[in-house]
Amino acid sequence: MTHLFPHTSSKWLGLALGFILVFLSFISSIVFGQTPISFGTALDALLHFDKDSTEHIIIATTRISRAVIAAVIGASLAIAGALLQALTRNPLASSDIFGINAGAVFFVVAAISFFSVSSLTHYMWIAFLGGGVATVMVYFLGTLGRDSLSPIKIVLAGAAITALFVALTQGLLVINQQNLEGVLFWLAGSVAGRTLDMLEPILPFMLVGWVIALLLGYPINILTSGEDVAKGLGQRTILVKTLMAVVVVFLAGGSVAVGGAIGFIGLIIPHIVRGLVGMDYRWIIPYCALFGASLLLLADVVARFIIMPQEMPIGVMTAIIGTPFFIYIARRGVNKG
């Protein structure tokens, strides 16, 4: 497979460029918006915060938290997507297509409706649970019958599970309409209006997830050369696969708890990254983190401008970017990695 950075040195360079890209996206996320803020003011706000300046307050209360959350979610979703694609050997895999996001959403909505849960820490655990349940169900459905885990089967199983959870969520929201408004905006996927304390309980899990994903890079390389080969080389494939699935659930579930249903990041980014660095997962994972973060940051910036003065929910933005991409891969054929 041809890719852009064939040598190790150029890969390091690419990684450095990735960091710069994230930094630039982060800055633009702070600077651009309904109230434009100059770069100097932004820097000023970070260094000497002034309580009386409106701009400083905007930066401190909304822009920074928004940018951090977008970056964390973007990175997590992209890594989750890369792991899922490796795990299922399916180029169309991503947590939203597989119903993991929908499962997390349903469990959270159910918890709000039935148990009046309102603390974010609880949301988080419930979202993890929902994501886990959905993963197990999709895996189970996708492996039933002959030619288990064929790409088409598992995508359909994911779509069916998504339909299931979406239908159930809709049912709950219709019965309990006073929750509808608030939940809807969260459902649409958004990184706005969230404070950093919302991220706090989840961040440790995500960080652990990232680290495990990075460490899994080499085992995944072996696993993708075929299950039999991996076993022959002495790999405990069950352990590696379980770890991958657990990391996916934590990353995707955590992202849903904070940002709602943001789709397609986990689908697009791993493909772009493979075009850059090839099939080596030791590189794919960190690249995914950087590019996922940048993409979501930039999508969030664009979402502020596209229908001024309202803001487009970011989940819609990523869907607009992601659908053509999904269809392109679907047309190219799922059997090519």
Partner: protein, 346 residues
Amino acid sequence: MSKYILFRNRSDSVSFQYEKKTMTVLTVLVILSLLLFLAGLSTGSEMIHPITIIKHLLGIGSGEYTFIIEILRLPRMIIAFMAGAALGVSGLILQGIIRNPLGSPDIIGITGGASFAAVVFITYFAGEVSIHWIPLAAITGAGIIAVLIYFLAWKKGVSPIRLVLVGIGMQAAMSSMITMMLVFGNDYSTPQAYVWLTGSVYGAHWEHVYSMLPWVLILIPLALFFSKTANAQELGDQVALGLGVRVQFHRFSLLFLSVALAGSAVAFAGGMGFVGLIAPHIARRLVGRSFGSLVLVSALIGGLIVFLADVVARTFFLPLDLPAGVFVSGIGAPFFIYLLYRNRHL
């Protein structure tokens, strides 16, 4: 006595072969539907004795229940039944085309397209244009998305796999567009749109019945007409070609039928999920795999599912009248998983 009953015209251009078992199943289902219809007519916030209803229907009743029976309950039940039947057949056809038991109009984006169009309509035009135009909007939406899916999946012909994958992508896009419309909608349109999305036959009246009836009466027999080629398609493209089926043409026609059926159902009953998935599965368990028998049985089963869900939705939580879709998916979804598990070796 043979195991089969043959229907054939002189030139053999139309020919059906039914197993006796199928006839038994069909008869039982029809009788069951009639009985349940009677039960459905008599239950509600005001209970009416079944005998009174029979009398009323025969035209010898006292006329005191005319309003409840003829205006409130009957059209609603008929719409529910027809929508379910249409969705059942639509799902059956799709499962045949894509050769996978997980096909259904709500998974490959057709319902999504219809829903998006309807939600746009409710959000932007509901105040100015009569709400009766929703069905037209929904059918148009379903049609546009179906055409889009078909062309995007086209690459020297349409393969089932590409069709499904492109459809799933479309469904994902549609669902986020729908969410966007809901978020931008106002306090009045959003809950209304949401109820519609869940699927509801509340407030159906005879006008709806008359406009939906032709769709069902034309499309379901057409599906029967195409059942021979559908049987062949299930065996794979090569085999079907060898049997003289014009695969691409028939795939297009069947897809068209499926979209039109789903579109008309969604138009009148909203985004009712899972009927298209479950009904064909139950039908297959009852009568095997011959497409011709499956069409009728799926239609009856689909109809019964939505019909029963609606009866439950309007009676169990009195005085609340919930959208039937909640129960269709609430009961349908777990049942669907069970069915998949049972049929795992098919």
